[in-house]
């Protein structure tokens, strides 16, 4: 699914070069649920942004579903973001003064899809928020806003969802609900990569990748039971 080869990212701060990632290589298989953990400044968010083409690596190669994305132009990257990837951010990043359902429709608009309203409502139903479709973000709780953001991420049936500290602004109860939604989506076959610094959240995923100073220092399977892989006999 995701194949990163010696990805480096150097930020230019005036005259000083600050390396954020140092030749990171990582493979994520389709259907995995991975947590990227590490202290602030370890490079985990940078890595995730590169996975979602929100940021360009300074060097290294990136293959998504076998395609070399380092070669693609702006327009193609926008299309890839639109069709293959869904983003969930810590601060939700919903359009203010815009109804939940309109927020969810956004990727469909840029993807040129039909039946936008119907599909947006279906996505809201999957996160259990159909009843609040016409509420504006300011009228929703943090957990509800994040669920709208998840609905927006999955409305275009992406194969990959990237979540940057999705529970960072939420209380434990709301955080658990969000994680449960992610687990359900993962069981439905969507690959999920999640950045977090909360270990109990990370522990519910199947695989934890730990970063420190721009390098991967640990990559282990958790054997977690909450998010069990889909059983082949059931469908």
């Amino acid at each position: 699914m995701i194949e990163l080869e010696k990805i480096s990212k150097i930020y230019q701060m005036g005259k000083i070069e600050v390396p954020a990632l140092k030749e990171v290589s990582l493979k994520v298989q389709a259907g995995e649920m991975v947590a990227l953990v590490g202290a602030s400044g370890s490079g985990k968010s940078t890595l995730m942004n590169i996975m979602g083409f929100l940021d360009q690596p300074t060097s290294g190669k990136y293959f998504l579903e076998g395609e070399d994305v380092s070669q693609l132009n702006d327009n193609r990257l926008a299309e890839m973001r639109n069709r293959k990837i869904g983003f969930v951010f810590q601060s939700y990043n919903l359009l203010p003064r815009t109804a939940a359902v309109a927020n969810v429709e956004l990727p469909l608009i840029y993807g040129g899809a039909s039946q936008k309203r119907k599909r947006a409502l279906e996505a809201l139903e999957r996160v259990g928020l159909k009843a609040r479709a016409n509420h504006k973000p300011s009228e929703l709780s943090g957990g509800e806003q994040q669920r709208v953001a998840i609905a927006r991420a999955l409305v275009n049936n992406p194969s990959l969802i990237l979540a940057d500290e999705p529970t960072g602004n939420l209380d434990t109860k709301a955080a658990n609900e969000i994680i449960q939604i992610f687990c359900q989506l993962n069981r439905d076959g969507i690959t999920i990569v999640m950045v977090t610094h909360e270990m109990d959240i990370a522990a519910q995923t199947k695989r934890i990748v730990r970063l420190l100073d721009g390098q991967i220092i640990e990559d282990k399977l958790t054997g977690a039971k909450t998010c069990e892989p889909p059983e082949p006999t059931r469908s």
Binding site: N49, G52, L54, D55, D74, N75, A78, E79, R81, N82, R83, F87, F89, N93, L94, L95, R97, T98, A102, L106, P107, I109, Y110, G111, G112, R152, N156
Partner: protein, 416 residues
């Protein structure tokens, strides 16, 4: 993404910031409004002057006296008397295609009865004046050749003079005083409704030219005859105007013994030349007014650009979100361009309506004050205003829109 989607996105975003959108539009509204108003008033004034010239009758050539060497506007101000009745006869008899020649002397006088008085324009002339300059009588009769020969103390008065002095009573047969001398009214003219140099054409007082020369203001002579100020020549056909004009010039140059070119004591103008002179003046006026209004349009467009730039900064995060969910550069560019275009287009449309109303008001007020400046909003002006306002929107939106489109998604998302 379809353009219609961009249209709705832009519309929603403008709607979400109503106060800001309407304040931005105000600049364009005022700009377009004043362009429309001023252009329409300029054209209205032109139409008014043009119609007052054509109202005088068609197929005319005008001759006015001038002091040799005095040029331009000064020649209008200096009263010169260069023609005589022999000139009138010579032109009528010797120049082909001439139907009639009406000599006139024009003067402003006080016209009064025992109880009322008003300002009138004396037109001292001959019976030819009636048909050549199109002054039909509504009541009574026009001055006759006999009146002219006998130097009768008779006048034909304009509609407005009659109304001021006699109200609804018939003026025919009444006595009036012109410059202190008593005249009998033998006719009243039909209402014309035009104006010349700010005075209504219904304020005329027509009298035999001989009466004026010998009894009212005697003593002005040229080449041993009583002097005449102006001649109006009626010709058979507009097509021959230039030829007739040249013939008259040759004839008068001989008769007035003018040997040096440029020392003529008269000026000749066909109706067409007169119209084009007037149009030139009003065109300059319209351009002048239009450019003043254009300045406010430019100010308005700078306002739009300013707001769009602020809006790009303020909505950096929104741009980041849109890019994260798959918006391409051209989608963002289109959204901001459309926002700017819609702002200025709606401002333009409101401005057109406003400018139209104002010019309509000016038409009504000017009519009430006795002038006639009709509202002349044409499809051309409206189209021009719409095109200009959209172009302003696009031009002032292009730079902010490009800045928005070029934003790096991750920088935009992290913008606080």
């Amino acid at each position: 993404m379809k353009i219609i989607e961009s249209f709705f996105i832009a519309l929603r975003s403008l709607n979400a910031n109503k106060l800001r959108s309407s304040l931005t539009m105000l600049g364009v509204i005022i700009g377009v409004g004043s362009v429309i108003t001023l252009m329409s008033v300029g054209r209205g004034a032109e139409a008014s002057i043009t119609s007052s010239i054509t109202d005088m009758g068609t197929n005319l050539i005008y001759l006015s006296s001038k002091t040799p060497g005095v040029q331009g506007m000064m020649s209008m101000a200096s009263p010169a008397y260069s023609f005589t009745m022999s000139d009138v006869q010579a032109i009528a008899e010797r120049v082909p295609s001439v139907i009639a020649v009406a000599p006139t002397i024009e003067n402003y006088v006080e016209v009064s009865t025992a109880s009322d008085s008003t300002l009138g324009i004396v037109e001292a002339t001959t019976p030819e004046f009636e048909t050549a300059l199109n002054y039909p009588t509504a009541e009574g009769q026009f001055i006759t050749a006999k009146n002219v020969a006998a130097m009768d103390m008779v006048v034909v008065i304009g509609n407005k003079v009659a109304a001021t002095l006699f109200g609804t009573d018939s003026a025919v047969g009444k006595k009036i005083k012109v410059n202190g001398r008593q005249f009998s009214v033998i006719g009243v003219l039909e209402k014309k409704g035009g104006q010349m140099m700010g005075v209504s054409t219904d304020s005329v007082v027509i009298m035999p030219i001989t009466t004026y020369q010998s009894r009212l203001f005697p003593g002005r002579m040229v080449r041993g005859e009583d002097a005449i100020q102006q001649l109006t020549v009626q010709i058979s056909n507009t097509n021959v105007a230039d030829i007739v004009s040249a013939d008259i010039t040759t004839l008068l140059t001989q008769r007035h013994r003018i040997t040096v070119e440029g020392k003529e004591d008269f000026q000749i103008m066909t109706q067409e030349q007169m119209l084009s002179a007037v149009k030139q003046v009003t065109l300059i006026l319209t351009i002048l007014l239009g450019s003043i209004a254009g300045i406010s349009l430019i100010v308005g467009s700078i306002g739009i650009m300013n707001i769009m730039l602020v809006s790009v900064t303020e909505r950096t995060r929104e741009i980041g979100i849109r890019k994260a969910v798959g918006a391409k550069r051209k989608d963002i560019l289109l959204q901001f361009l459309l926002e700017a275009a819609m702002l200025s287009l709606s401002g333009g449309i409101i401005g057109i309506i406003g400018g139209w109303s104002v010019s309509w008001l000016i038409a009504i007020v000017s009519k009430a004050l006795g002038y006639s400046i009709p509202s002349a909003v044409s499809v051309g002006i409206v189209l021009l205003a719409i095109i200009v306002s959209v172009c302003i929107g696009l031009a002032s939106g292009v730079y902010p829109a490009m800045r928005a489109a070029r934003l790096n998604p991750i920088d935009a998302l992290h913008y606080e």
